[in-house]
């Protein structure tokens, strides 16, 4: 009989000998921690239970244990100090009109895990655009380190990557309280490497990350070009992976599209599960806005919410910004804005100048995406790594701005219009064949429109 079975059998008999209220009160959260040399140690949740069991029930418990196992000669009780479950995840008190009260920075994030308790699955809204990422995350939460290792989540700015990652961390922390979780941005990892090198504490740095059970690294695209950091991450990754620890990454683009990333690291990123978060559809945006306004108990009319949802399409953070404006109006005037007023309020958010696409903006986005200088893109170089981005830039100028071929040619250092035609046709053809190119273009477009 294992020690758990032993205690279950004891409880089964004990319930007939004492009243059910007593049984429920005094034996709640008790279990056997150790059994050896005829001694049984029972863990009890607090000192009240300890005193009561020691002084009142010791004899009955001892007799039952002894009848189950004749070798038992002694029972001791121990108050264990361990992470206790918070009492039935009490609902967060509604704090209307408290939105603007600022909180202490740094106090809210858990110091050891760096997780913010604000991000949980309960307030993560699932739609077709993030279904896959959400499902994969839930699978990871159930069996950390077993399925989908590593989990790689990518998607555009402000679509909930960080929320999802932190929710996974928080949930694992709740469900498996003994697991060590560490959440960090890749930038923090980098500065950790830098200071470890400077202070000659690289060993301490390594061991700090290598004994965690769940490692979550946010925004790994910033690792591009940082070779030493990539190397450290690579080794850390290998150590954790071998031990069956869960690793989760996020990025704003798929591993393939991260430039200046070492091949061995890229292939590892791709080794588990890659889940994308695309743009939310109208219904999901509507659901998000409704949840947010309800959270703050703002009674805003549906037509206003629909207006917001239909005009802000690419970024959930922007949705939140729009709601903030509506909330400010609400507070100032003590009533909800009407549609006309809402349009006025949101004018600057919805039709901000950054939304107008210019050739310059496209060139900027493309060069930034491929980590090139704009100058290189426009120069006459025929280096392979420049040629494709240049063709994509031409294609986008044609597609997004309906620019004429001669204009495009001129823009790229006085090239002939036939060069532009060739580039656009080539990319259009490749798009049909290559799924990854479609994705890349999607991400570039996000940059162009995302501001």
């Amino acid at each position: 009989m294992t020690k758990d079975e032993l205690w279950q059998a004891t409880l089964a008999q004990l319930q007939f000998q004492i009243s059910s209220a007593n049984f429920a009160t005094w034996l709640k959260n008790t279990y056997v921690v150790a059994k050896k040399d005829g001694g049984v140690t029972v863990s009890v949740p607090n000192n009240f239970s300890k005193e009561w069991l020691e002084n009142k029930y010791n004899k009955i418990i001892f007799n039952i244990l002894r009848s189950l196992d004749v070798e038992i000669r002694e029972v001791t009780y121990l108050v264990e100090r361990g992470p206790q479950k918070p009492a039935a995840a009490a609902p967060q008190e509604a704090r209307p009109a408290q939105e603007s009260q600022l909180e202490f920075q740094g106090l809210s994030a858990d110091k050891t895990t760096n997780l913010s308790p604000r991000y949980v699955f309960d307030n993560f809204i699932v739609g077709p655009f993030n279904e896959l990422a959400h499902a994969a995350s839930l699978a990871v939460v159930k069996n950390p380190g077993v399925v989908y290792n590593p989990l790689f989540v990518y998607g555009g700015v402000g679509l909930g990557k960080t929320h999802l990652l932190q929710a996974v961390g928080n949930k694992i922390g709740n469900d498996f309280s003994q697991k060590k979780i560490r959440y960090l941005s890749s930038e923090r990892f980098t500065s950790g490497v830098v200071s470890a090198i400077r202070n000659h504490t690289i060993d301490a740095f390594r061991s700090a990350y290598r004994d965690v059970d769940v490692l979550i690294v946010d925004d790994v695209q910033f690792l591009a070009g940082k070779d030493k950091t990539q190397e450290e991450l690579f080794h850390t990754f290998n150590t954790l992976y071998e031990r069956g620890r869960q690793i989760i990454f996020s990025s704003d683009r798929p591993p393939k599209a991260i430039s200046a990333l070492e091949e061995r690291l890229r292939s590892r990123f791709e080794g588990g599960m890659i889940a994308d978060i695309s743009l939310p559809d109208f219904e999901t945006r509507m659901a998000i806005i409704k949840a947010k306004t309800q959270e703050r108990s703002l009674g805003i009319a549906d037509d206003v919410l629909e207006y917001v949802a239909s005009h802000i399409q690419r970024n959930i953070r922007e949705l939140e910004g729009a709601i903030n404006r509506l909330a400010a109006f609400f507070r100032l005037n003590n009533r909800a804005p009407e549609l006309g007023e809402a349009k006025g309020l949101l004018k600057s958010v919805i039709s901000s100048p950054s939304k107008f696409v210019t050739p310059r903006k496209i060139l900027e986005a493309v060069s930034e995406f491929y980590d090139l200088k704009e100058r290189e893109l426009l120069a006459l170089s025929r280096k392979q790594e420049v040629v494709k981005p240049r063709q994509i830039a031409m294609y986008l100028l044609r597609e997004e701005l309906k620019s004429s071929y001669p204009f495009i040619g001129k823009r790229f250092g006085g090239k002939d219009h036939t060069t532009a035609i060739y580039a656009c046709e080539k990319i259009a053809k490749e798009l049909q064949a290559s799924e990854s190119l479609v994705e890349e273009l999607g991400l570039i477009r996000q940059r162009i429109y995302g501001g």
Partner: protein, 375 residues
Amino acid sequence: MRATILKKNFQEGLALAERVVPKTPTLPILSAVLCSVESNFIQISATDLEIGIRYKILSKNEQEGSFAVPPRPLGQFVGTLPEGPVALEKKEGGLAIGAGEFQAVFKTLDAEEFPIIPLAKGDENQTHVDAASFCDALASVAGFVGQSQARPEISGVLFSFDKKTLTLASTDSFRLAEKTVPLLKETPGPQVCILPAKASRELLALLGDRPGVLKIFISPTQIIFHYGQDGRPGEPEIQLVSRVIEGEYPKYQEVVPASFETTCVFSRGDLLERVKAAGIFSGKMQDVLLAFDPGKKRVEISTKNPTIGEQHSFLGGDMQGQKLEISFNWRFLADGLAQTKGDHMQFLLSSAEGPALIKSAQDPSYFYVLMPLKI
């Protein structure tokens, strides 16, 4: 069981014990208090299984014994009795109480069922503080404990014992208070624990402003406060035992600002008065706007409410640094000002959206940090 006790003492003991009795007890016996008659004392105990208290007072005992009885009706009845001795006797039908021409019999519960309150075993770390200054310190931070269940580790008061000092701190993530009191007996070294908010409140109610020494026993799972009646036989002996909150208290020292853009010294009473007046006009957000003008050496305190109206007041003081406009929740501001001691206070501001530090100009043992409202 037969005993005689002074009405005043019995009434006080029952009233204090009743506070701890849970409203919806998980065990029927928890709705009662236990009165034990032993040697020359009556001891009244109550618990909700998180906190336990004992109130022990001199009585004339003829026969030892104990009874468990719901405290409310008993306390109410004792309250109506004339001052002087009250006779208690356990009979067939329950507890008989007699005082002069008043007689009553209360139904009792089985005293054997009453939980055993885990008291000091002697192996805990022990330290002593002056009871009155401890209560004063606890009262000055206990009000700022976090309310959210989502963050249990800040839902209590942090006790940090060092060799010669005890530092109490609390925060609800919007504001933070810290108070240091000297210890009368040295502790072996640094030790921390988090006392639940309810235990802090009960401790304050139990101790009131009684003079004397408070002994504190600390173990990893619980903390015990023992107030003795050394040399004052008419006074009760009071003990409170509480679980401690598990978890690590955030490193709050990091949020205390160290550099300031604007520093001011004001008359504390004058500022508190103005903030309270401003509070009348504050809106739903409880906001009050403070415009600091070091050039004119004064601060303007203004509030506006769409339905009530608006007000402005001014206060002069010694000021240095930049002009600054900042908005606070007026209640939070008034709370901090009320707990700061002394006639003059320092108001130190880091920025319009950064934390502000309030402390007494005379007493360095207390400070209060408050986050502003976003304007």
